[in-house]
């Protein structure tokens, strides 16, 4: 069970950096939220959790324009990407995604909006607590690509004015869905 205070500080920290944190009761709620919010071509990588919960057909059924071709053919600025995540960090409001599969990388970098489904049971206290699962992810010698994502893409390069949405997604929606998975190695 997720500790309440972790969910609370995660929500606050993510909110402070411009992410929308949306508590959902069930995965269906989350699907409905994405269907209401997503615009355009939507990239949904077929990760273990996506397959287990049949995320593509759920979203497709709810009217989302699910991308069915190779993500590289989905255009240079597709509408949305929907993913699960491995775990999160409460102190900074960060979600962590094993993005070794190219589809996860593309779905989280090129779309205008990124939706990420997080089971509150996966929220760790802080980035020091993330060292252990990170080491597990990097055990062995397989190639690996892990992304910490904290809020939407931002820049302050023109006159030091904070501007959201430079090269990465302009919006980050974090959907808190209980009972999805508490396995930090699973995405």
């Amino acid at each position: 069970m997720a500790e309440k205070h972790l969910v609370h500080s995660f929500t606050e920290a993510a909110g402070r950096v411009g992410a929308a944190v949306v508590p959902c009761t069930t995965l269906q709620d989350a699907v409905a939220y994405v269907a209401r919010t997503a615009v355009g071509h939507t990239l949904i990588p077929q990760t273990a959790l996506a397959a287990e919960f049949q995320l593509r057909s759920l979203l497709g059924g709810a009217g989302v324009d699910v991308c069915s071709v190779s993500f590289r053919e989905a255009g240079q600025l597709p509408g949305a990407g929907v993913t699960f995540c491995n775990f999160a960090m409460a102190d900074t409001g960060t979600v962590v995604l094993d993005s070794t599969s190219e589809d996860v990388r593309l779905a989280t970098t090129i779309p205008e909006v990124h939706f990420v489904i997080l089971d509150p049971a996966k929220i760790l206290t802080d980035n020091l607590a993330a060292a252990a699962p990170m080491n597990t992810l990097y055990a062995g010698s397989e190639p690996r690509f892990v992304a910490y994502i904290t809020g939407p893409s931002r820049t302050a390069d023109i006159e030091r004015v904070l501007t959201i949405g430079c090269h990465g997604p302009r919006e980050l929606h974090i959907l808190l869905v209980p009972d999805v998975s508490d396995d930090l190695m699973e995405i």
Binding site: Q76, N127, D157, C166, G168
Partner: protein, 733 residues
């Protein structure tokens, strides 16, 4: 000498464009607030001590860790190339590009590629390099180089950016930041898709995983690493860390100290050639020495390689804020830039910026890697002096005059007579002597245009002390007084006040007459020999005096006695022992009063005057003393109103403000004057005769009704019996 003239000109040009300096000031102020918020609840000193320890261990084990990193990276399919210099590194990339038939390389930010002038090398081979970091792209389009480590285009304004983008994109764009960012988003997106190679830097090379870490905000590094088939990592060898834990610890400090963020939008960890649908991904890691090994081998300067490139040492530097990074830097800018320029580009390229540092230690205080930047710069300045000389005026002053105490003191006396015709009474302040205009032959005439210079006092402290009758029965302590030149010859009242306050608290003062200048002005100008000679004279004087403590009213002298005497005499077993024991008992007068005597419990609140306090660089950041004067002043009843940025340098820096860079000093002093004016208070307390010269002099021109006083003077006034109805702080008006 041509370089000097060029540098002077670039300083003047920068000073002629106040818009940039204004922007950098606003940024500097906002930065401090954001940083403070970001570190709330964390112990910065503990974190930076830990980071320094990590980096030092990496330095010692670098060969082994580099081998470990390479083995792990190769096991994950990376190709690793170690380049001994930037030329080799460039050649590797050019060769690879040719092999791949690459016409376009999409680049995310890599400072070492700036250092290598990689874009030029690619261009020469007919390969286009597209910078995708927004700031880097702006700078690239403008044909310039970055002026800040973290914000490359901090010197540009949106109108200039709009002009550049409109030209590049071929449609007119409004000077609106949102519009400009969107235009860049669209334009650069094509480049990621079209590029054959994506090139990134690396914030970390993690030895035990063989992976790299990238700390970014915009998301361009992830696109560069993902979309093109080939990913090239271009990084300096000093980015090595031992483990994931090390890297994670650094991510706790880096964004907080760089931009006041708890974490950047993206931290990306990549190991090996990650899978793609065709499984044709390649990752090449180019590790560059380029002078780093030599820097690791320099015992005095090697700490500089602990740098994590947060850019903070620029954010807080008064010289950077005044002239910007294009003047105060080369490839790397500000404090760290001075050091890296000396090692990567040569001492010759670094000599002007080395002299342009004012020595305020703000960089040292803010550095998350605990690098004593100011001390390393000081050392480099000595090297510069050895190789390029010191300039005539300083040379005669230090070598011929300062070393000979009797001659020096006689000259000062003579000066006090010579200056007579040019001193005049300061309006409304009968007690203060100022020089309004200096004799033409003495120094440049523009020196007194913007500030009054203090005159040499008619009688020095050493003369006045002889006439003081100390009435202390059974003294609690006998303390030696190291007066320092400023308090001896310009502000003897600071020393006289100290004697009063100490006697009042039952302490007897001893003044060894054979003491001389602390030698810091000579040392700061790079004259080590004179520094050693002066250290000996002083250690001898106080060794013979045999006192319980030695006090200074000038924090620069305190640093000289505590730190530099020991270092200067380290090779001589007898003298170094004496220097160490002198160092141990030396402290600032305010620190002695508060920490040894607990004077704020003993003094009575007799004054009610409103004052503000200026923290001297060397008192706060050199000696870690800043609570003490406040406690003492409050205890005696003064109403303390803090000014904005009370610990920002006043622009003095010793000979800096007179000989090296008076124009830069002038700007920095102007900021201090503004902060003081805003408080509306008529008395400014401080604990450094150098600051009194600068703040007093600049205030004298800006608003002569504001009094600048040494804390000792205000304390002495508060303990003296006063006639009814007069508060000591205001009695001079």
């Amino acid at each position: 000498m041509a370089a000097t003239a060029d540098f002077k000109k670039s300083v003047e040009d920068a000073l002629g464009k106040p818009k940039l300096s204004e922007a950098l000031h606003l940024f500097g102020d906002a930065y401090l607030i954001a940083r403070e918020n970001a570190f709330r609840g964390l112990d910065f000193d503990q974190l930076r001590t830990e980071l320094a320890a990590i980096k030092d261990d990496v330095r010692e084990r670098r060969k082994e860790l580099l081998a470990q990193f390479i083995a792990n990276a190769e096991a994950a399919g990376s190709k690793v190339f170690v380049a001994k210099d930037t030329r080799e590194a460039n050649e590797y990339v050019v060769h690879l590009a040719k092999q791949k038939n690459a016409g376009l390389i999409a680049k995310s930010k890599s400072m070492v590629s700036e250092e290598a002038h990689l874009n030029k090398a690619l261009e020469a081979a007919g390969i286009r390099a597209a910078e995708t970091d927004l700031g880097e792209w702006i700078v690239q389009l403008a044909g310039q180089r970055p002026s800040h480590l973290v914000m490359p285009a901090i010197h540009m304004f949106k109108e200039e950016v709009a002009e550049l983008f409109s030209k590049e994109i071929g449609e007119p764009l409004e000077a609106d930041i949102r519009t400009l960012v969107d235009a860049a988003r669209k334009q650069l997106r094509k480049d990621y898709f079209d590029a054959d190679i994506g090139l990134t830097g690396a914030n970390f090379l993690v030895a035990d995983t063989g992976g790299i870490g990238l700390v970014t905000n915009e998301g361009n590094a992830r696109l560069c690493a993902t979309l093109p088939k080939v990913h090239v990592v271009f990084a300096g060898i000093h980015k090595l860390v031992r483990s994931m834990e090390d890297a994670i610890k650094i991510t706790r400090l880096l964004p907080r100290n760089a931009t006041g963020q708890l974490l950047t939008s993206y931290v990306t960890w990549i190991r090996g050639a990650v899978p793609t649908p065709g499984n044709d991904k390649e990752q090449h890691i180019v590790l560059i020495d380029g002078g780093r090994e030599a820097l690791y081998e320099s015992p005095v300067c090697r700490d500089a390689l602990r740098c994590i490139q947060c850019g903070a040492c620029a954010n807080v530097c008064p010289v950077y804020q005044t002239v910007g990074g294009h003047v105060f830097g080369s490839i790397y800018i500000s404090a760290i830039g001075i050091i890296l320029t000396a090692f990567y580009e040569g001492l010759d390229r670094a000599k002007e910026i080395t002299r342009a540092c004012i020595g305020c230690r703000s960089c040292t205080a803010v550095c998350p890697a605990n690098i004593d930047l100011e001390e390393i710069i000081l050392h480099l300045r000595q090297q510069v002096t050895k190789e390029y000389g010191m300039g005539l005026v300083k040379n005669i002053t230090f070598k011929a005059v300062m070393r000979n105490r009797a001659l020096f003191h006689n000259m000062v006396k003579a000066a006090s007579k010579l200056q007579k015709p040019v001193t005049q009474q300061k309006e409304g302040q009968p007690a203060t002597r100022v020089i309004r205009h200096l004799p033409m032959h003495f120094m440049d005439k523009d020196l007194t245009q913007w500030r009054d210079l203090p005159a040499v006092a008619p009688r020095s402290f050493r003369d006045l002390f002889a006439g003081i009758d100390q009435k202390v029965d059974n003294p609690r302590y006998r303390v030696g007084f190291f007066v320092g030149c400023g308090a001896d010859f310009v502000y003897p009242e600071a020393g006289i006040s100290l004697v009063k306050v100490l006697n009042h608290l039952g302490v007897e003062v001893v003044f060894p007459n054979s003491q001389n200048c602390c030698g810091i002005p000579a040392l700061y100008a790079g004259d080590t020999e004179t520094g050693v000679e002066l250290a000996k004279q002083n250690v001898k004087a106080f060794y013979e005096a045999d006192v319980d403590y030695v006090l200074c009213v000038c924090p620069t002298c305190t640093m000289g006695v505590k730190r530099d005497f020991v270092e200067r005499l380290v090779d001589d077993p007898v003298w170094s022992q004496r220097a160490i024991s002198l160092s141990e008992k030396t402290m600032d007068a305010v620190a002695f009063l508060e920490n040894v005597l607990k004077a704020s419990d003993l003094l009575k609140a007799t004054s009610a005057a409103r004052i503000t306090y200026h923290d001297s660089c060397h008192l706060k950041r050199g000696n870690d003393v800043w609570k003490e004067p406040r406690a003492l002043l409050r205890a005696t009843g003064y109403q303390l109103e803090e000014m904005k940025n009370s610990d920002r340098c006043c622009g003095f820096g010793g000979t800096y403000s007179f000989l090296s860079h008076p124009q830069i000093s002038r700007q920095i002093a102007g900021d201090k004057v503004e902060s003081i004016k805003v408080t509306g208070v008529k008395t400014v307390a401080m604990d450094c005769p150098g600051c009194m010269i600068m703040v007093g002099g600049s205030m004298g021109k800006a608003d002569p009704t504001v009094r600048c006083a040494h804390t000792m003077e205000l304390l002495a006034e508060a303990i003296v019996e006063k006639p009814q109805g007069q508060t000591p702080g205001e009695k001079q008006f």
